[in-house]
Amino acid sequence: MALTLDDVRRVAHLARIAVDDAEAEATLAQLTRVFGLIEQMQAVDVAGIEPMAHAQDMVLRLRTDAVTESDQRELFQQIAPEVEAGLYLVPKVIE
């Protein structure tokens, strides 16, 4: 499998990271090196092996359905780039 510039642009779009042409070229060269390393995985037969998501194979706990958080909107919005009347502001999305 060989990565292409289009792959880099497509993935950068999915990841919402702007890349210009020069960056895309440089990224392609480096990702190609990294995927050369990753491809070593393909040499092993993995038939019948269960994927391992977590070290301890633990099950997630359920907590009691009770309120545990207090309202800290003002505190948390102090660090937001742009807020108004308790709302986070973003560029207009509906014309």
């Binding site: 990753i38 800290q72 937001a80």
Partner: protein, 485 residues
């Protein structure tokens, strides 16, 4: 005083020969003198540290002091600490003041410890040399033109240069152990889930684990006693009964079976490192241990597996940085999508972007099974290798890092070379096992070598015992860089 261990400082504070305010001031003075050169602290707030020290002295006067009350420590800048800048080494969080404390910080505060400052690190903990930090590199106090390792490079150097008696770190693929090895200090990555990840900025959630960094195994035990513990706010925090990690320190090592994986001593290991590690093993033989030849046949796959799983988890975790709720937002943009893209292009450095792109790719449609699921299957094989090995031995030993500290800039142009510097540490994270590094000698150029000690799940007390017994008969851990003791 700055050369004293946590244990010695604890005794001095208890005896009243010094106060926490005096101790804190002494460390702050030393930091002021040396940090410009070393770059290990990114945020200092002397007034806040001294206020905490004053409160600790008052607590002691009131007869409510614990073993670490009044002792200063440094926190890796990945831990949220209320009202402290918490940057994670990134432009994205350059102005982020944490509105709450991480569980680890909360535990240290509750123990009466004093926050000396926040330490430099590779951006979002992605790096093995501390060179990806937005705030500049950290220099290794043993030789200023070499790296301290990473990602907890700032914490390692703060401890190695005696600017803090201990520090917190995090380890996703070696980020506590490798910098500990490269700077001649001790660091422990506990069993996955032993220390809460709450308030620790996430990189790869199934691998991230916090742990202590200090100058002796005994000090690691003291600090782990404070850091470990169940926390319901981290869904992967284990409900493991509290332990006293000091309890086994004095246990003799007669009968200990040390497994040496032959894969750890194959090609790629620097001769000086091999020599120092083999001398350490000889020392263990003298202490009554026996050595068993073992094999971890899938260990060679750990680096490729890690560079699928960790970036996949990172690409998901780092999607929260969107310029809306906190962190950097680009100044100019045309619409919402452009705002996200510019914000993330400006806020993240090259290595972080690279890993997000790798992760996005391996999780994208058509590639998920070939990469992500395959890597998870191989992860099970790697964990099974350790399970088989621990049927033959009690403890596994080997080098922490294939080389001693490398030069600044030496590996930063080639990501794969950099990734391979964690070849001996990554498998431990994938298996979720505890691992540590302790100093065991120097190379011919005078740079420290680390011995890696790997235990079975929840074997931290035994590992600390094994490390402590070695430190009773050797003095590598007492060596300090010139002019630092």
């Amino acid at each position: 005083m700055s050369n004293a261990t946590l244990k010695e400082l604890s005794a001095q504070l208890a005896a009243g020969t010094c106060s926490s305010v005096e101790l804190t001031q002494e460390f702050l003075n030393k930091i002021n003198r040396l940090n410009k050169d070393l770059g290990c602290f990114v945020t200092l707030d002397a007034a806040r540290s001294l206020a905490q020290a004053q409160a600790a002295d008052a607590q002691r006067a009131a007869g409510r002091a614990g073993p670490l009350t009044g002792i200063p420590l440094a926190h890796k800048d990945i831990f949220c600490a209320r009202d402290w800048l918490t940057t994670c080494g990134s432009r994205m969080l350059e102005n982020f003041v944490a509105p709450y404390d991480a569980h680890v910080v909360e535990q240290c505060n509750r123990a009466g410890m004093v926050t000396l400052g926040k330490t430099n690190m590779d951006e979002f903990a992605m790096g093995s040399s501390n060179e990806t930090s937005y705030f500049g590199p950290v220099r290794n106090p043993w030789q200023r033109e070499t790296v301290p390792g990473g990602s907890s490079g700032g914490s390692a150097v703060a401890v190695a240069a005696r600017l803090a008696p201990a520090a917190t770190g995090t380890d996703t693929g070696g980020s506590i152990r490798q910098p500990a090895a490269l700077t001649g200090i001790c660091g422990l990555k506990p069993t996955y889930g032993l220390v809460s990840r709450y308030g620790m900025i996430a990189f790869a959630s199934s691998l991230d684990q916090a742990g202590p960094m200090a100058r002796t195994a005994e000090d690691l035990a003291l600090l782990l006693n404070v850091m470990a513990g169940h926390d319901a706010r981290d869904s992967t925090s284990l409900e493991h009964p509290a332990e006293d990690y000091l309890r086994d320190l004095a246990r003799p090592l007669a009968g200990l079976r040390i497994g040496l994986p032959r894969e750890f001593f194959a090609s790629g290991l620097a001769p000086d490192v091999q020599r120092a590690v083999e001398s350490a093993i000889d020392e263990y033989r003298k202490l009554g241990a026996t050595v068993v030849d073992i094999s971890l046949p899938n260990m060679g796959l750990s680096v490729p597996v890690y560079y699928v799983l960790a970036p996949a988890e990172a690409s998901s975790n780092l999607s929260r940085f969107d310029g809306v709720r906190y962190g950097h937002r680009a100044a100019g943009y045309s619409d919402l999508s452009d705002m996200y893209k510019r914000t993330r292009a400006e806020g993240f450095g090259a290595e972080v972007k690279r890993r997000i792109l790798i992760g996005t790719y391996v999780l994208s449609h058509g590639y998920y099974d070939a990469y992500y699921i395959r890597a998870q299957k191989l992860r099970r094989l790697i964990a099974a290798d350790f399970a088989a090995a621990f049927r033959q031995c009690d403890i596994i030993m080997g080098p922490t890092s294939p080389t001693t500290a490398f030069k600044l800039g030496e590996k930063s142009a080639d990501p794969v070379q950099m990734y391979l510097s964690d070849i001996y540490t990554i498998a431990v994270n994938l298996a979720g096992l505890p691992g540590m590094s302790i100093p065991c000698g120097f190379d011919t150029g005078g740079l420290p070598v680390g011995l890696q000690i790997i235990g079975n799940y929840f074997a931290e007390a035994r590992m600390l015992n094994v490390a402590h017994q070695y430190q009773r008969v050797t003095d590598w851990h007492q060596r300090a860089p010139e002019g630092m003791a």
